[in-house]
């Protein structure tokens, strides 16, 4: 077993002798082995540092510092103590920026719709120093970033993070657990040594309800005991624009270009521009530990007052009115969420398949177009043979001859698609001999990687729109190489369905493809809707 993995590992790095490549590919287990190796790499990349918190402090206390006489610093460089502090923090921020852009420094683990520079993020994506990076989390998901050297970040829905020059929170919330990690937000530099929440609202005056921490699982994924904050405190954070920092554990520092450094300890919070930290109220009840906030919020107006200068000017009735509005919005969102969950549950209860592997319905195609995604159902992309077990065959009364013909249809489609892809790859200057040994998905990925600029995103959106009937079809043979590669699979999807329907009829085809004991393929290429220009 280990030998097979070792060969797969060498194959992945193009270090396997050519005579062994063929044998390995013929074994039929290569893709599975590669997936396991990728998963191991991701797990290794997510290994945490073993030292933090009190244990770290204890060790640092024990380390003997060499005694050296400090060289006096010329006053013209550092005229004031504040400037010295600023320089130290700026240096620390720069350290963080360097560390943050270190190769494969962060592993991103999306749990739903997460975009990186407008492209969907893959599972266990490694983020490195590759120019401009921005991570955007969709409305129904969360993501986490883990760096063995720096710590862990959790991003709830609606968060935007960029890596252009070190980590920068552009919008939303971030739960940070780190040892000396530095990042920026809203013109502030923040250094966290422990656990803290950063809440960043770019639009001044926006009132938004955030139940960010309600969504966090209690440390199961992060191997760390995440503390939960009171919804009251979070609501206070987002009641005004700019950055608000809450320290849950350890300590943190915050400093702007023209503001003095602010040091915060556990239990303290500060809004950007505040002269001194305040205290956020720790959860007092189970409701406050992630449940729906209660009217106890009214009892803590001081939390709000510390959060935003505008709020300080508000009267008590105005504050109460604001709280009412915030709570109403939260309740409305909760109701909407419940309705959506029920809608999904109802579909399952009715016995309909959660996913349609037959012809996509117009509303499904429109939804895909709206989301900027392309859904493909056939097995042609996987180099795998179509399979149906006895139950599936009995359910649709599939004869052996029909089964053989079904496989023949899919195999022919797979071969046609691969031949077209190879032709496209050759057309753009690729080496067909090398490509011949690749899996179809690797070949498709290679074609995608050769795309320029937004070609991939444009191609997916164009195809999704064409498929939904929102725009006219591109003439045959026109379009970018990426466009034509993916179009090949849409055409093969349609063609195989037509051939199957001719063989079995529409009802039996649908029944066979959607049967739970039939092998299913599901590929969704999502790039998100086009950004407004």
């Amino acid at each position: 077993m280990t030998d097979e993995f070792e060969k797969a590992s060498r194959f992945r790095e193009n270090e396997l002798p050519p005579d062994e490549v063929g044998a390995l590919q013929a074994s039929g287990t290569l893709n599975e082995k590669l997936k396991v190796l990728d998963a191991v790499d991701a797990a290794v990349g997510a290994l945490p540092n073993s030292l933090c918190g009190e244990q770290l402090e204890a060790l640092l206390d024990r380390v003997k510092r060499p005694a050296r006489e400090a060289t006096p610093v010329k006053r013209r460089w550092l005229p004031t103590a504040a400037a010295a502090t600023a320089a130290a923090l700026i240096a620390a921020v720069a350290v963080g920026a360097v560390a943050a852009t270190q190769r494969r420094a962060w592993t991103a683990v999306p749990t739903g719709q997460v975009l990186l520079d407008g492209e969907p993020l893959l599972q266990h994506h490694r983020l490195g120093a590759h120019g401009h990076w921005s991570l955007e989390v969709g409305p129904e998901s969360t993501a986490q970033l883990v760096s063995p050297a720096q710590g862990a970040l959790r991003l709830p829905a609606g968060t935007q993070l960029s890596f252009e020059q070190g980590l920068r929170l552009d919008r939303g919330n971030l739960l940070v657990s780190a040892n000396g990690l530095t990042l920026s937000a809203g013109g502030q530099h923040v250094s966290v040594d422990g656990t803290a929440v950063l809440s960043m609202e770019p639009a001044e005056g926006v009132v938004r309800v955030t139940d960010v921490l309600n969504q966090f699982p209690s440390g199961a994924q992060m191997k760390s005991q995440w503390m939960r904050m009171s919804s009251v405190a979070v609501t206070a954070a987002v009641a005004g624009g700019g950055l608000t920092l809450f320290v849950l554990d350890g300590n943190a520092r915050m400093m702007g270009e023209n503001t003095p450094e602010l040091r915060l300890a556990a239990g303290e919070s500060a809004h950007a521009g505040d002269g001194k930290p305040g205290r956020w109220k720790a959860p007092q009840s189970s409701a406050a530990l992630g449940g729906t906030p209660t009217r106890s919020f009214e009892a803590t107006p001081s939390d709000l007052q510390k959060g935003d200068a505008r709020l300080r000017a508000m009267s008590q009735p105005e504050l109460v009115a604001l709280v009412e509005k915030v709570l109403d919005e939260k309740e409305a969102l909760a109701r909407e969420r419940e309705a959506l969950k029920k809608k999904v549950a109802d579909l399952d209860d009715d016995g309909h398949p959660a996913r349609n592997y037959y012809r996509l319905q117009p509303e499904e195609l429109l939804e895909s177009a709206r989301k900027g995604e392309l859904r493909l159902r056939g097995p042609q992309l996987e180099d795998a043979e179509f399979k149906a077990d006895t139950k599936a065959k009995e359910a649709v009364s599939l004869t052996p001859a029909e089964e053989a013909k079904v496989k023949e249809i899919f195999n022919a489609s797979r071969d046609r698609a691969r031949a077209k892809l190879l032709a496209i790859y050759k057309e753009i200057g690729g080496d067909p001999d090398s490509a011949a040994s690749w899996s179809t998905s690797t070949l498709l990925g290679e074609l995608r990687s050769k795309g320029l600029g937004t070609e991939y995103g444009d191609a997916i959106r164009q195809l999704a729109n064409e498929r939904a009937g929102l725009v006219a079809s591109t003439p045959e043979g026109a379009g970018s190489a990426i466009y034509r590669a993916y179009r090949t699979y849409i055409e093969e999807d349609d063609r195989t369905l037509s051939e199957l329907e001719r063989l079995l009829g529409p009802r039996r085809t649908e029944e066979l493809l959607n049967h739970e004991n039939t092998s299913h393929s599901n590929h969704t290429f999502g790039v998100g809707p086009a950004k407004p220009k």
């Binding site: 280990t2 191991v40 290794v44 073993s50 640092l60 380390v63 006489e69 560390a99 040892n179 040594d193």
Partner: protein
């Protein structure tokens, strides 16, 4: 590099803040390195010794040299760990023979049932032959350049790659059952 220069200059001047910043920056990663690649059960003490050594020798680091400060720190740590083994009269395992470190930890199979992937991975790492484990931790966990690690190990880069392939394969074989089983079901939030 400019940042490295600034850091080292401040350390040379003996600035306490700079020492603290240096220690806070490197203590967690070096502790992880020592715990995973060094002898079992002594990570705290060894990391303390290593940090003290680094504070005394960091002024030798040349910001104009080819290595970044982090690479230099890990190179020093790597050499120090090998020297430390010699001082303790522990032999470095020959490459091909391997020598499992027996430290009383559970086998990967035990972890598969009920523990998360991280625990199984940590355990599987400890089952690797020491030479493989050391280079794997340095290059894959701490992202150190192959060339720098190969130089300290006194082996060609190709040999180092062989160790890495073997180590990764061993880990994959140990973790495959857990990976096939998928992530554990999360407790329902209330």
């Amino acid at each position: 590099m400019e940042l490295d220069r600034l850091t080292v200059e401040r350390l040379r001047r003996g600035e306490r803040d700079a020492q603290d910043a240096f220690l806070r920056r490197y203590a967690p990663v070096l502790h992880s390195f020592v715990r995973r690649a060094g002898p079992p059960g002594a990570a705290d003490d060894l990391t303390q010794e290593l940090l003290e050594k680094l504070l005394t020798v960091v002024e030798r680091f040349s910001p104009d040299g080819p290595a970044q400060l982090t690479t230099w720190v890990f190179t020093v740590a790597h050499r120090w760990l090998l020297d430390e083994k010699k001082r303790r009269h522990l032999e470095v395992a020959p490459l091909e023979e391997g020598m499992d470190v027996v430290d009383g930890r559970e086998s990967p199979d035990v972890h598969v049932h009920g523990r998360q992937l991280e625990a199984a991975l940590e355990s599987a790492l400890q089952q690797l032959p020491e030479a493989q484990r050391r280079v794997f931790v340095l290059t894959q966990v701490h992202h150190q350049p192959l060339e720098a690690v190969a130089e300290v190990e006194r082996v060609p880069v190709g040999t180092l790659k062989s160790r890495l392939h073997r180590a990764r394969a061993t880990l994959a074989a140990a973790l495959e059952p857990l990976l096939h089983r998928g992530p554990p079901v999360k407790a329902k939030e209330t």
